[in-house]
Amino acid sequence: MPAGAINLNVAGRRLVGPVQGFGQLWQKTYRVRLGSSIEPADVIREWRTNYARFWPAGNRFYAPPTGLEPGDVAVINAASVGGVQVSTGIRVIYADDESFTFMSAEGHPAAGMITFSATRDDAGVIAQVQLLIRANDPFYDLMLPIYGHRAEDQVWIKTLGALAAHFGAPAEVTMERTLVDRRRNWAEAKNLWQNAAIRSGLYMAGRPVRWARRLFGRRG
């Protein structure tokens, strides 16, 4: 891991899919047109090879340098409320020439799958990010209408905007949101115990203590 990266809430965590999350089940689809001078496979190749490059500022994605392959685990440090850097992770569960898919680690704000794809229609190539997710626990679920939906939209709108800019296309991102299941999985409320935002916040709050320990440990 590079210096400065916070590697928490990933090792030893299971994956959480749309079945395991707590909140309502949402399908969110973000799309941008990339023109007709490229092929979908070119988009996916670039995206898989340089995924982190397209992320918005303030967010970090640490993955193996060889490009995203099935089974790869990536650590995410995401900017959040109050300056907290949320450390969590994903695993690549699918990857081919047309698409690749992440699934979240326990504690991630969203339990589910995110699929990145590129297709061609009569007007050219479309890059798409599609989420099938639930808020992982009641805390994230409470935050969704206040912060979560908007923050998530911004991540993917900016990501697709950056991808479009890379391919010389206008950053005109469209978004659709569908509520697939309005029921909550109350049995999964216990996911709160793994909440990566809370754990990351506590870790950051403990920095002065760790610094003092290192300082006095050296002197002692």
């Binding site: 749309p18 079945v19 399908q27 699934m103 799958m113 297709t119 099938l132």
Partner: protein, 117 residues
């Protein structure tokens, strides 16, 4: 979007049990075929067995479709089971933890026996 080459058929075993046979590819484009088969379930069906022995390919879009089917089935208090998955797709079900909501059985006979238990 590429059109899926999915075909489905539904066989009613008894008043409470329906088997949906899935053949070909299952991707996001398979929604029409899969939901058309599911529409034959009716109010009295309690268990739906998805027979994947004819499955050739499934991607994450197909997994997402199964999640949507699961949501609809749960709303109707119906149970979903799966049979005929090869080792690769069994691993996919385990990796995505879909097996925690959809019971996996080796054969249709085993799945139907489980409905009696």
């Amino acid at each position: 979007m590429t059109a899926a080459t999915t075909t489905t058929s539904a066989d009613r075993i008894d008043e409470r049990t329906l088997v949906i046979r899935v053949r070909g590819d299952v991707t996001a484009a398979s929604e029409g075929a899969l939901m058309a088969a599911y529409a034959q379930a009716g109010e009295k069906t309690r268990t739906i067995v998805l027979d994947f022995s004819g499955l050739e390919y499934m991607n994450s879009g197909g997994i997402g479709l199964l999640v949507t089917l699961l949501v609809r089935a749960n709303r109707q208090k119906q149970k979903l089971l799966a049979c005929g998955l090869n080792d690769h797709y069994k691993q996919i079900f385990e990796l995505t933890r879909l097996d925690e909501a959809i019971g996996i059985h080796e054969t249709e006979t085993a799945a139907l026996a489980a409905t009696k238990g």
